[in-house]
């Protein structure tokens, strides 16, 4: 029996030997010389897997340009959106850069200035006959859990009470599948993402003109990491001045919808 105890001890030692500390923090990044960007790879057009199977997106292009200007290597780390805080706090990533809504999260992260504006909207089937928020009375509405749309709905209790039912989905894509199949009547989500999806899919969906909420996107850093935030902020302002920001925005959205330095 002593032998078995010894073997178990050795195994435990091997496990704990796997633990060792990380590199220094001169640049304020978790890995020296590297900017590790955490993003949800299911969030087109901000960060997603493109037709060639590569990571692509408006936000990732911005991050790549910023990393270049700061002379840092860019590392893209797809994360589970529910675990974003764990990833940031356990220092696996430097920032969350992924159509990340500042509103309602102001005090939870160290933010750059907002770099673009977004709205929360309702998506419905084009042939559903729903054209205003009032038409949603008695209908089934779906929202992604832990999303800013869910937070925005939390402030509109009058509206939510008029719904027949409010359901939450794990990701917006399954919510849209439910919408298409007729299981739900409307989905509350980010306008930018909804527009991308409608464009990709063609007709069938429509966005209600009445908005749920207006909000801003920013880059979120671990609370207190002003050193790195200031560097990224400066790089973004520089890009706004020399037109790079407008250029990248044009490539993705056909117009300049960025808001930094304006």
């Amino acid at each position: 029996m002593k032998r078995i105890t010894a073997i178990i001890l050795v195994l435990l030692l091997m496990l704990s030997a796997a633990a060792c500390s990380k590199g220094s923090k001169v640049t304020g990044t978790v890995v020296e010389g590297t900017l590790t960007v955490g993003f949800d790879q299911e969030f087109p057009p901000m960060g997603f897997v493109d037709d060639n199977g590569e990571f692509a997106g408006f936000d990732l292009d911005l991050a790549a340009e910023v990393a270049k200007r700061l002379d840092l290597k860019l590392e893209l780390q797809p994360i589970a959106w529910d675990s974003k805080d764990f990833e940031l706090e356990s220092k696996n990533i430097d920032c969350i850069w992924n159509g990340f809504t500042i509103n309602e999260r102001e005090d939870s992260y160290t933010w750059t200035d907002p770099y673009m504006a977004n709205t929360q909207v309702f998506v419905v089937r084009a042939d559903s006959g729903i054209s205003s928020l009032a038409d949603l009375a008695g209908k089934t509405v779906m929202v992604q859990s832990d999303s800013s749309a869910e937070k925005a709905l939390g402030k509109r209790t009058d509206l939510v009470e008029s719904f027949g039912e409010l359901l939450t989905a794990a990701d917006y894509n399954s919510a849209l599948m439910d919408l298409e199949s007729g299981a739900v009547d409307a989905v509350a989500m980010d306008n930018i993402v909804a527009s991308y999806h409608i464009e990709k899919k063609g007709a069938g969906f429509a966005i209600l003109n009445e908005e749920l909420a207006a909000e801003d996107y920013g880059v979120g850093f671990l609370l207190g990491n002003e050193a790195l935030r200031d560097k990224v902020q400066a790089a973004l302002e520089e890009m706004a001045k020399d037109g790079t920001l407008a250029k990248i925005s044009n490539e993705w959205f056909g117009k300049d919808i960025t808001t930094i330095g304006k």
Partner: protein
């Protein structure tokens, strides 16, 4: 997206799933045997410690265990883990969990061998380890194979749980592509990949079972 790109991406994810699968088996099958010995030990402290271990591993969701193994070092012990720990954590989590299940399968097999065989072997002058390796184990293996096959097939499908700590296994890849392409094809592809993998494993296990069908 071209079908070839889709297949390439799913294959990359599949490779990660296969790695998780193989490494988990490599560690959990022997570890399970050690745990089974601990569970049957005469030492009360060891036996009860192992009982608690098995009870926790079987009584909590694997998803939760993976999160504890991955985020635990930082949030409990304040240790910064290297970047590669993400994948290591998956293997540790899966191996610890599956070892508990395998241990109980082993124990069931070992305890099903009549005590008379131990006594006879002792009379014939076999030592305890000789008895176990030459007489008990060969019979145990063939008895437990169907249960082990069950666990192994569950393991293939469980590899998809690695998504909670953002390991790019196949299901995560399929979800990412499905949301970018806004269609269901990647999910169908993922289903086919899993099925083929399971079919192969079931085929191999059946072959092994046949090889062990002696003494019948």
């Amino acid at each position: 997206m071209d079908l070839s790109v889709l297949i390439t991406k799913l294959s990359e994810g599949m490779l990660v799933s296969v790695e998780i699968f193989s490494l988990t088996l490599l560690f959990s099958l022997p570890l399970g045997l050690l745990v089974a010995f601990g569970r049957m030990a005469r030492n009360v402290v060891l036996r009860n410690a192992i009982k608690v271990y098995i009870s926790i591993m079987r009584g909590t969701p694997l998803v939760l265990q993976l999160m504890v193994v991955y985020y635990g070092p930082y949030f409990i012990f304040n240790i910064n883990m290297p970047r590669s720990y993400r994948f290591v954590a998956v293997i540790i989590g899966f191996a610890l969990n599956y070892a508990a299940y395998f241990a109980e399968i082993y124990r069931g097999g070992i305890e099903s061998i009549p005590a008379g065989q131990h006594e006879a072997a002792k009379l014939l002058g076999y030592s305890r380890s000789q008895t176990f390796i030459r007489i008990i184990l060969p019979q145990v293996i063939k008895r437990i194979l169907p249960s082990v096959t069950n666990e192994i097939i569950t393991l293939i499908k469980d590899t998809s749980l690695a998504y909670v700590i953002s390991v790019p296994e196949m299901f995560k890849e399929a979800k990412a592509i499905a949301s970018a392409q806004s269609n269901m094809v990647p999910y169908v592809g993922a289903g086919i990949f899993y099925y083929v993998f399971n079919y192969l494993v079931a085929f191999i296990m059946e072959w092994i079972e046949k090889r062990f069908s002696y003494f019948r």
